[in-house]
């Protein structure tokens, strides 16, 4: 099962390596990991996407809680939540492909944020499967570069992760 785990962690040097080191040392799986400071600069918010059985996910949350710098851990996927990921794709956009690329980007509510006479950079936000679907929808051979941020997640409604 795929889980989205949100962490509040002290914004100290090396905090990221404590988390990533834990995952590699205990052979836990990481699909994606994003981290940035919160509105309170002393705290960072991290979102980890991992897969594993319920037992494994239980161990992951327990082991994360055990890290001294970790303030709070929540398994977002236990209840209603929203996930988003940002992708930037640079594509070849020349001749007949140029119009088609713009059309597909529009369908996916993507925005073209850089234009040359032969390329576009398309910005796309959504959950992971939407971004995957976009990449499937365009001609593979036209993709020059893709950059994805990994998933950020937040609970719906009253579910708040705060100190």
């Amino acid at each position: 099962m795929r889980h989205i785990i949100s962490i509040l962690i002290e914004n100290e040097a090396g905090a990221l390596s404590r988390v990533s080191g834990l995952f590699s040392a205990r052979a836990f799986n990481i699909e994606s990991l994003t981290v940035a400071p919160t509105e309170d600069a002393s705290l960072s918010r991290m979102t980890i996407v991992s897969t594993g059985s319920d037992d494994v996910i239980e161990q992951i949350t327990k082991q994360l809680n055990k890290l001294i710098d970790v303030v709070k851990v929540v398994d977002l996927s236990e209840a209603a939540h929203i996930e988003r990921e940002l992708m930037l794709v640079k594509v070849r956009a020349a001749g007949k492909d140029r119009e088609e690329m713009k059309r597909i980007a529009d369908i996916f509510r993507g925005r073209i944020i850089d234009v040359t006479d032969s390329t576009y950079v398309i910005e796309l936000t959504g959950n992971g499967s939407k971004l995957d679907a976009f990449l499937e929808a365009i001609d593979r051979s036209l993709i020059l570069e893709t950059v994805r941020t990994g998933v950020s997640g937040i609970g719906r409604g009253d579910r708040i992760l705060k100190v």
Binding site: G14, E58, N65, I68, D69
Partner: protein
């Protein structure tokens, strides 16, 4: 008052009431050693290798429940210390390691004696810090001691760049500390404890399985009270020996890979199991699938939530500090009208006594060759069971655990988790510093002892009257045993050739050496060592049977009840 970083380090150690610092100086810690020279509130023990400093501080803690402290320099000082730190980490020993680092401006420049200490030690410490500002130093050291000894204890490393130790700032040692990210649980969940009491009282075939947590949290007296109240059998893990008196009639001895027949059988066949400060590790329950084949209810008390349901699913998890949880459990038991089913309990004890009848620890001592088990038994007799015993790792460690009956906690000091050869002698040193009048013996083998043999020099300098019981079988005994059993008798690299004359070696350091070759000489030699040479370090080189194996044995990956017994061979 303005103090330098080095002065602050010394003041913090004094504020923490540290008696001994085990260490080794070097370039990056020179300012600290300079301040250490000017004070006399605590003593420094100069070892001969940094690994031994960490082991000694570790055993100092194990045998006293104080935080062990050691100090090493940057680069090789730290890398030498890593084995000791990992050893302490695996066994949850509260320690503070202070390491020097190259000056702040040099970090990352591949400077002389630079290494990424925080990176290297991160997976084998409870926590570590790199101090970047002298103003953070006192608070960081306060945190280090606090983290080391609270919750599930463990080693904490503080890496201090050299320039920080020479900069000044205002000093005030924080009195108390709160950390929003670290709040270990103390009290157990009362609903869960109620459930546990109910389950314990309904048991037909109960079993108490007590681990190192009992020792670390000083919960031994509570465990004894609980066990006596219920009349249930108790088994101890390797780390838990002494947590419940081994000579008590309710004790089934050690369980696990080399546990007694009765302990392993009772563990496998019980219907209610209460795990107290133990973690169901691979050397204890063998194959978890085999263990799960028998339906039983499990209550698990541990301070570390991640130890619960890690390898074995439990029914009643209780997270909390053992003494607190056991006190509450006892209170509920005392208030409860229920009592254990006497008929069922009598039948269970009858079954256990049948298992005991196997006498799984018996061995034959002939007239010619000394059996290693015999030496440990005689050591137990000669010391009246009152000695602090340290061991190295291997067959001799298992024989020590099986044949020296520990009735008190903190008397059995060994590397259970990491299994570090070479700990025995530095452990004995640490024990003796923490217990200056105690009888201390190190049960070791000719291979393990050579991994930190240089500490004979430290032992001489500090006049430590350790008795080294060297069970010398000229083999890496446990390796040889596995090669015999699982690798077709191919003794690949397990013969220990070119041994030194240990008697002369000990004498060259100024100690007493003895070589014992015949069974009849074992007891007299021990008596001589512990009386005539009471105040000397005595290196006792016992030439023992080369083919002796440790039994019973649960082979790796096998189930607990699939033991190989000596009598079956």
């Amino acid at each position: 008052m303005q103090l330098t970083g080095a002065e602050i380090v010394i003041r913090c150690l004094q504020e923490e009431k540290v008696d001994y610092v085990f260490g080794y100086p070097g370039g990056s810690v020179l300012f600290i050693y300079d301040e250490l020279f000017k004070q006399d509130k605590f003593k420094h023990v100069l070892v001969r290798h940094e690994q031994a400093a960490v082991h000694a501080a570790d055993a100092y803690s194990r045998s006293s429940n104080k935080v062990g402290v050691c100090m090493v320099t940057s680069g090789p000082g730290v890398t030498n210390a890593v084995t000791g730190i990992a050893t302490a980490h695996m066994d949850s020993i509260p320690m503070v390691i202070i390491s020097g680092q190259v000056p702040t401006a040099y970090i990352g420049q591949d400077a002389f004696q630079e290494c990424d200490t925080v990176g290297i030690t991160r997976p084998c410490v409870k926590h570590n810090f790199l101090v970047k500002d002298v103003k953070d130093l006192a608070l960081t050291l306060k945190k280090a001691f606090y983290i080391a000894k609270t919750g599930r204890p463990g080693p904490v490393l503080v890496d201090i760049p050299k320039d920080i130790t020479n900069q000044k700032c205002e000093f005030e040692y924080p009195k108390a500390i709160t950390m929003r990210s670290y709040n270990p649980v103390v009290k157990g969940h009362s609903g869960q404890i109620k459930k546990a009491v109910q389950m314990l009282l309904e048991a037909k075939r109960p079993m108490i399985y007590a681990g190192g947590g009992v020792i670390l949290s000083d919960a031994s007296d509570r465990l004894v009270k609980l066990a006596r109240h219920l009349g249930y059998p108790v088994t101890n893990t390797l780390m838990g020996l002494g947590g419940y008196p081994a000579t008590d009639k309710q004790s089934l001895g050690m369980l696990g890979m080399h546990g007694t027949y009765e302990a392993n059988m009772a563990m496998q066949h019980c219907d209610v199991l209460i795990a107290v400060g133990a973690r169901f590790d691979d050397r204890v329950i063998g194959n978890p699938a085999h263990f799960a084949e028998v339906a039983r209810k499990i209550i698990h008390i541990d301070i570390d939530p991640s130890s619960i349901s890690k390898r074995v699913k439990v029914d009643v998890p209780i997270v909390g500090n053992l003494p607190d949880v056991l006190d509450e459990l006892q209170k509920l038991l005392d208030a409860s009208a229920g009592v254990p089913d006497p008929k069922a309990l009598a039948a269970w004890w009858k079954q256990i006594d049948e298992w005991r009848g196997k006498k799984s620890l018996k061995y034959k001592q002939g007239k010619e060759i000394i059996m290693p088990q015999y030496v440990v038994e005689k050591l137990y007799e000669v010391t009246g069971g009152e000695a602090f015993i340290t061991s190295d790792v291997g067959q001799h460690q298992m024989w020590a655990a099986q044949y020296y009956k520990f009735d008190k906690p903190r008397r059995w000091i060994n590397s259970g988790g990491l299994g570090t050869m070479g700990v025995g002698l530095p452990y004995a040193m640490g024990v003796r510093f923490a217990n200056p009048k105690a009888t201390v013996a190190c049960i070791t083998g000719e291979a393990s002892i050579q991994m930190n043999i240089q500490e004979l020099s430290t032992a001489k300098q500090f006049r430590l009257p350790i008795k080294i019981i060297n069970l010398n079988n000229r083999y890496l005994g446990m390796v040889r045993q596995w090669q015999q059993m699982f690798h077709g008798n191919r003794y690949s690299e397990s013969y220990v050739d070119a041994l030194p004359d240990f008697v002369k070696l000990a004498e060259s350091y100024g100690h007493v050496g003895m070589k014992i070759e015949r069974p009849a000489d074992v007891e007299p030699a021990l008596r001589e060592a512990f009386t005539k040479h009471k105040n000397d370090l005595v290196f006792m080189d016992f030439l023992t049977d080369q083919t002796a194996n440790v039994y019973p044995m649960v082979a790796a990956g096998k189930g607990l009840s699939e033991m190989i017994l000596a009598e079956e061979l």
